[in-house]
Symmetry: C2
Subunit: 245 residues, 2 copies
Amino acid sequence: MNRLKCTIAYDGTNFSGFQVQSNGRTVQGDIEKALFKLHKGEEIRIHPSGRTDAGVHAHGQVIHFDSPLSIPVDRYQMALNTLLPDDIVALTIENVNTDFHARYNVVKKEYRYFLLNQKERDVFRKNHSYYYPYAINLDRIIEATKYLLGAHDFTSFCSTKSDKENKVRTIEEIEIWKENNEIVFRFVGNGFLYNMVRIIVGTLLKVGQGKLEPEDIKVILEEKNRKAAGKTAPAHGLHLWKVWY
Amino acid sequence: MNRLKCTIAYDGTNFSGFQVQSNGRTVQGDIEKALFKLHKGEEIRIHPSGRTDAGVHAHGQVIHFDSPLSIPVDRYQMALNTLLPDDIVALTIENVNTDFHARYNVVKKEYRYFLLNQKERDVFRKNHSYYYPYAINLDRIIEATKYLLGAHDFTSFCSTKSDKENKVRTIEEIEIWKENNEIVFRFVGNGFLYNMVRIIVGTLLKVGQGKLEPEDIKVILEEKNRKAAGKTAPAHGLHLWKVWY
C-alpha cells in the first residue's frame, strides 16, 4: 500500500459539507466515488485535516489515503482530476510515509474570511464572500484582534454543538486588509474549534459597528460562554486556505 | 413617464441568455418580473445595449426602460435590487431624456475574455474563465492582434447565424495581459457581431499554439468566410465589461 498526501481545493457552494452523511452531496463522498472508479471498484477511505461545513470553501485542504496502485503521482493526479466533479480539484499529490496522518500531524492551519463591504451586491462573489453593506471601522477591529492572539480558552467562540473537551487553542497570526471592495480576515493557528473563525468574525463585526468595544473581547473570552460572543458569520465567506505539517 | 438608464451586472451561469424565450431563465425575463412587482402589476419592457448569449457574463450591461413611477432613483435602485435574484444586480440607475436608447445610442463597447492558463482546473473560476491548460505563446498572439485593429469586414469572425447585412466593424483597442494565472483579452470597439469576440479568441489561440501564423489573420479577414477562422471559444469566459454612450 502507498500512502498518498493530496492537496485539494473545492467550491463548497453545492456541498452539504465535507463528511459523508445520509443525504446531500459531500466532498468526501465525491472524492471517494472518484477513487472507487480509479481503483476499479475498490473502496478507498480518505482522511482530511479536518471537516468543513456546508458552504465553506477550501483552497488548500489536505487529505491522505492508502492506495494499492503503484503509478507515478502525476499520472495518478491526472486520472483523479478527470474523475472528480468540476467543483473539486486535486492540486498536488505526493507519496508519504505510512506514519503520515492528515489530521493528527497538522501543525497549523490558515483560514481566510471574505467580507464584501460595498453598497451593492457582487453577483460574482455571492457564494464566496459575505455581503455586508454596513459601515465598519477597521481600526477598531484590528485593535480588537490583539485580545485574540495567543493561547486562550475559546469556549465563547465555539459552537455549543462541539464535543471537544479542551477548548484551548493558540491563534498565532491575525491579519486584516482591504482588497478591492473586500475585507479579508486571515487567521493562522494550531487548531480551530467548531465555528470558531465564523464566531470570531461575527463578533469582530460588532466591534467594527461600534456595538462592542475592542477590549470587550477580553471579557467575552473570560466568560467562557457562547452567548457572550456575536453571531456566527455565514459559512460561504469562509475559506480553508492552507494546512501546515 | 420617466426614462431610466440602468447599469446592471449578471452572472450568466444559470441563464439561457439575455432575451426572453419560451423556455429557460433569461436576464430580461427576470428583470421584467422584478419590475412587474415593483410597478404593482404593470408590465415594463426593458431594452438592452445588446443581447448576450447563454453563459456570458456582464459587469456593465446597460438597459433602459420607461417607468410611470416618480420616486428618487436611489430608492428605485434599492427596491429593484431587493426584487432581483442574487445573480443580477442594478449597479446604477439614472434619469435620462426620452430620446436616450440603450441600443441605438451605443458609442462603443468593451468585452473581456478570461482564459485560465494553468495546469489544473480552478474550481473558483470554472464558470467565469475558459480553462486552457496548453502552452501558448503570448507574443505571437499580441503580434496577431494588430491585423484585427481598425475597421474590417468581420464576416470570417461572425457566426453564420447572424442576420446583420453589414459586417464592417471597428476594433479600437485590443489589450492582452496576464493576471495571476489568467490571460485577459480586452476588446473595445464600436460594435461586435454575433460570436465575434469568441471567434477572435478561438482563432488567436490557434496562433498562440503555433497552428496559425500571426499574419494569417489578414488572410482570414480577406476570405470573408467563417470557416477560415478558428473555433468559437466557450461562452463562460466572455464578459461584457462596459458600454459607452
